[in-house]
Structure formats: C-alpha cells, structure tokens
C-alpha cells in the first residue's frame, strides 16, 4: 500500500441557501449540510463515512465527486485543485473517480442493454477501441456475472446482480477512487455479504481506494481502514477502524456503537453498557451553538454551549502514540473518555 495521498479535502462546506415565507415575512436561511470537514484518502485505502440520516454523508460524496459545488473549502485530487472546475474540465477526473449508487433499480438505464451500459464509458473515453465487447465481457466476469448476458436488459436481473452491473460500470474506466454511497443498503442481507465480498476482492486485486458511505456500522467495520463519524455536517471522530470501534472517545460514536444490535445478548451473555440517546437530531438550518451534539449529550456542560470543540487528539499520550504508530485518532469533544466495552470482540474476517 503506497502512502501517496489521492484525495485531500480541507474545510469543505456546503450551505444550501433558501427562502421561506413566514406569515408576511420572507426569511432567508441556509441549510448547513456540510459545515467544514477535512479528511484525506490515500491510494488503496478505504475511508468509511458513517452517521445518521441527514448528517451530510451523501452531500459530502456529491461534493467530492463534484456533482455539486462546495460553498467553501478545497478538494484536491492527486494534488490538483478540483474544487471549482467546470463540467468540461472535470472529464479527466471523471475517469479517475467513479461512483457506485445506492439504488440498483434507478442507477441502470432500463432502455439500454448491459453491453450498452458498460461500453458507453469506454466509447466516451476512447478506451479499448475496437475491442469494447471483449472488455465488457471481461468486466462482467470480473464482477461474477455471465459474460453471455451482454445483450440483456437490467430488468432481467435481480437487485444484487444489478448492483454488480453498477460496480462493473464503475470499474470500466479503471478508476483510482470509488465513492460508494450506501452500496448495499438496498439489498437483501444475504446478498449484501456477497456484494461486500466482491468489493473487498476488487479492492485488493485492483488496488482501489474507496470512500464508503454507510449507516450500517457492521458493514463499515468489515470493509474500511479509516472511519469518519459525522454528526450534523461535522466530523466528530476520525481514526483507524480499530480505534473507532474498540476505543471510541466521542460520546456520539459511543452512542452509535451502543445502538448497533449485539449478537451476544441473544446468546445469553449479559448486555453491555447501553447508551440511549434522547431527542432528535437538531435542524441543520439552526444548529446548536458550541458543540452540536450537546443537546443530546449526557456529559454536556456550560462550556459545550459556548465553545465549539476542535477535532484533535484526545490526550498527550494519544498524540505521541499516534506519532509513533502512525494511526491517527481525532475527536471533537470537550470531555473525551475512552469506552472499550461497547462492541463485542468478534472480529469479522475480511
């Protein structure tokens, strides 16, 4: 695994302005969907973005892929600033960054055959000229589909098979980074495992980097190297998978992990410590002052409302350890505290 940085995102921000009529007044407001986040993805690495609905995961993936333009911050791909490139200039980037979609039913054009769907990016980029068909069949084989099905329509495939076609399309242009936006959440649980294993296999064989957006913590643990936990448009905790799952420091991460179903309870082992969050996620139009999580946090004190906690290493030992071992672990809480007993020690085999 090379240490070369592929994608560098700095202070990324996306505010959606909107106008609303309240009585006789016109009120201008902004939805702060993504409010200043930074992360990097190195070659061949996988970053997992987790968080509740509406925390800005999908907006982040739309910004990174430049389907949407950020209101502030920078996105660098292989050292090149792509933050404000125009559609035409993005052509080159489109080859290197591909996307896998959540819904395999709307991501494939029902009027085109599999062969046509997969050869379209090849034709646009002039790849494998004259040998498109062979390449398409190779791609189908790569994702575990029968290459003879090249002339079939998407409606003839099941959800899992359609998702494989979507994956094959992303691979067609030999990208370096794939953004997967909840790629398995629309599939049956039994099929999820197959598709995840396929993604893991492809990642290892082709050396791909991934940004993996998901709300399923189990899937993220299985697949990712680094994890960023998002809450209301901010990253609240960021670090190696092992750290996040086994020694989470931010109360929100702890609450998320605690909320995940635990097989041990079913086995009769005494339930671990449970954290129950109260209340709803506040509106991103008018987020709480200071720490955004304070309205639902059991540790909240006065300072949490006054000062926004920065995303830093929790302790001095932690930062020396991170320096020594290379595993960064950042969190944004005024009162970080390690909890180690939230997740059972049953490691998934990758």
């Amino acid at each position: 695994m090379s240490d070369q940085t592929l994608l560098k995102v700095t202070d990324l921000q996306r505010h959606f302005p909107f106008r609303e009529v309240q009585g006789l007044k016109m009120v201008r407001a902004t939805v702060k969907a993504v409010d200043g986040i930074s992360f990097t993805v190195k070659q061949g690495q996988t970053l997992g973005l987790v968080g509740e609905s509406g925390c800005g995961k999908s907006t982040t993936s739309r910004l990174v892929t430049r389907l949407d333009e950020p209101t502030a911050g920078t996105i660098e791909f292989e050292g090149r600033d792509i933050t404000h490139l125009k559609e035409r200039e993005l052509r080159g980037i489109r080859r290197d960054v591909q996307m896998i979609f959540q819904d395999p039913y709307s991501s494939l054009n029902p009027r085109h055959t599999v062969g046509s769907i997969l050869s379209s990016p090849l034709k646009v980029h002039g790849l494998h000229q004259g040998k498109e068909k062979a390449r398409v069949q190779e791609l189908l084989e790569l994702v575990g589909l029968n290459p003879e099905h090249i002339n079939r329509y998407p409606s003839e495939f099941s959800g899992g098979q359609r998702q494989r076609i979507g994956i094959a399309r992303a691979l067609a242009v030999e990208p370096k980074l794939i953004i997967a936006d909840e790629p398995v959440s629309a599939l049956d649980v039994s099929i999820q495992a197959q598709v995840m294993n396929l993604l893991a296999k492809l990642r290892n064989e082709l050396g791909l980097a991934f940004i993996f957006v998901a709300h399923d913590l189990g899937v993220v643990r299985h697949f990712c190297d680094q994890v960023a936990v998002m809450y209301l448009g901010k990253i609240v905790e960021y670090g190696d998978k092992k750290k996040i799952y086994e020694a989470p420091e931010h109360p929100y991460t702890q609450a998320l992990l605690s909320a995940a179903p635990d097989i041990n309870v079913a086995r009769g082992i005494a339930p671990k410590e449970r954290i129950r969050l109260v209340g709803d996620v506040p509106s991103p139009i008018d987020p709480p002052s200071g720490c955004r999580f304070r309205t639902r946090c059991w540790k909240a004190q006065d300072i949490c409302a006054q000062q926004e906690p920065p995303l830093v290493t929790a302790t001095a030992e932690e930062s020396t350890r991170a320096f020594r071992e290379g595993g960064v672990h950042l969190q944004a809480c005024h009162f970080p505290e390690v909890k180690t007993d939230l997740v059972a020690e049953v490691e998934h085999s990758a």
Binding site: L67, L108, S120, V124, G144
Partner: protein
C-alpha cells in the same frame, strides 16, 4: 446458453461462492412495444381503421373512379353506379373527391403532428434539463404564453392574413399553435428522469449534455412522445378540416374540409344532397376515432397499470 453444473446453483448468502459466475434464469422478455399496443382491442381497431385510410390515400388514383376535379358529370345526380355518392352542384364526383381528400387529411396529420411533436420535444427537453436556470425560465414563459392563447382564433388570424394558401401553410400554423401542451408534459417528464441515478452515472462516464439528453433520457420517454404525436396528429387533422370549413383551406386542392365548405356554400342540405354533407364529416369522424383508439394502445406503453389481460 451453456451452463456448467458447478455454476448452476448459487446458494444465496454463501459468500464463499461469490467468485462463481451468477446465472440469470431465462426469464420471458418483456413484450416489445408493438405487442403491447396490439394487445389492446381498441388499438387494434384503430390501427385497422387508420391503415385502411392510409391504403386508400396512397392508392387514391387506383381506387377513385374519376378525377376529383373533373366537372363533366350531370350536376346534382344521386348515387349511381357511375357516381357512387352522386355529384356536386358543379358536376363533380363526390366519391372521388372523398378518396382524394384523405390524402390532404393524412398529410396534414402526419406532418402537422411531427412538427408539433418536434417543437414540443426540443423546447420541453431543453427547458426541463435546464430546470431552474434562466433558459428554463424563458422557455417556460413562452410555453405558458402559447398555452393560454386561444388557438383557433390565432390559427384563423394567421391563415387569413397570410398571402399563400397551401397545405404547408396549414401544417406550419397548426404546428406552431399546438406544441405547448406537449412541451409542458415533456418538461415535467424530463425533470423526473433527470434526477435518476443513471443520469448521474452517465455524467460519471463523461457523457456530454446532448448525449445524456438524447441517448439516456429520451429513450425513456418514447411512449410519451408517441402518444403526443398521435394526439397532435389527430388535432391537426381536425384543425385542417375546421379551417377548410371556414373557407380558409387550400382552395386548389380537395380535402374533406373544402368539400364541407362547398356543400355548405352551395346549400347542399336545402337541395337534399345529404351524402355530400354527411359522408365527408363521417369519414373524418371515423379517422379521428381510429387515431384516438390507437392512443389507447400507446397509453399502455407509458402506463403499465392500464394493461388489460388480453
């Protein structure tokens, strides 16, 4: 399709088998579009009717017993072996006029419908794909204006003030006065299609806007386009006849509308020439009914819920 037994069974949920090739059972292909249209009894009737009209129009010189403009017959004759539907006040054969008149109606229907559909398609697609931009605002405004202008008075005014009176003028005028509704529908349709993931995926493939609009999106609205075409063709046929009845038709050619105009002007009803009045009106009504029936079949394409078990 060759299948090795090893690959044949794909135990769901067993990740160990993911490297195998998944087999897709040979499901029945969805019906092709003509099968869907043909499956509707109404559409079958409509197709037969329109096909009969098309055959008559194409082979008019063979079918018609006389030249429609030949005025050498006995005026005001009743139906006979020589003149199947009798003759007009100036001695022309009504049956031959009727047969040649189908050419004008179908021509206006075909080209008026095509032109109106094309204008609607281009304006609707651009406006829908550019939703929310100034381009969309301008095109939507034009569409709205065209929608609220009363069509018939506008057509009459345009035709009355134009110097030439030909079929092509009628086609053009009908097209530019009847595209707005179709453009509206297509704009709405493209807005829903534009946000589908496959359009985003096409962007990721590096496809340009034109390619996305015409290759990715348009095939998904072909049934809507077909329905709009049949609808505007029907409207165009009716509009042509209406204009001709009002005396705004092409006086050089014979159409059902001009026949009705002549019949009215010559006082056919007071003279007891019922066939002269009713037969052109009847064939026109049957043709438009046939086309409306075809649209029942086309509707099945865009809305599968309507498909009957036939």
């Amino acid at each position: 399709m060759t299948t090795t037994p090893l690959n044949d069974v794909m135990a769901e949920g067993d990740p160990a088998q993911t490297s195998n090739v998944e087999q897709v059972p040979d499901v029945e292909r969805p019906d092709r579009w003509w099968q869907v249209v043909w499956s509707s009894r109404k559409a079958r009737i409509g197709i037969v009717i329109v096909a009969a009209y098309v055959l008559v129009a194409v082979f008019a010189p063979l079918v018609a017993p006389h030249d429609p403009l030949d005025s050498s017959f006995t005026p005001l004759a009743g139906a006979s072996g020589e003149n199947w539907l009798g003759t007009t006040t100036d001695g022309r054969d009504i049956a031959s006029q009727l047969i040649y008149g189908s050419r004008i109606s179908l021509l206006v229907g075909l080209f008026g419908g095509l032109l109106a559909t094309m204008i609607a398609l281009v304006i609707g697609m651009i406006s829908g794909y550019a939703e929310g931009t100034i381009v969309d605002d301008i095109l939507s405004f034009i569409t709205n204006v065209a929608l609220v202008i009363p069509t018939l008075p506008l057509i009459i005014t345009l035709v009355a003030y134009s110097e030439v009176r030909g079929v092509w003028l009628i086609v053009g005028v009908i097209a530019i006065t009847s595209w707005a509704g179709g453009a509206r529908a297509k704009r709405a349709q493209i807005i829903t299609l534009r946000n589908r993931d496959f359009v985003t995926a096409a962007k990721f493939s590096g496809e340009g806007t034109m390619r996305i609009v015409f290759r990715e999106i348009m095939p998904n609205m072909s049934s809507l386009v077909a329905a709009a075409f049949v609808g505007s063709a029907t409207g165009a046929i009716g509009a042509e006849a209406g204009l001709a009845v009002l005396g705004l038709g092409d006086s050089q050619s014979v159409s059902w509308g001009t026949m009705l105009y002549q019949a009215n002007a010559q006082g056919a009803i007071t003279q007891g020439l019922w066939l002269w009045v009713f037969v052109p009106g009847l064939v026109l009504a049957i043709l438009m009914t046939g086309m409306a029936f075809i649209n029942f079949g086309v509707d099945l394409l865009s809305n599968p819920h309507l498909r009957e078990d036939a």
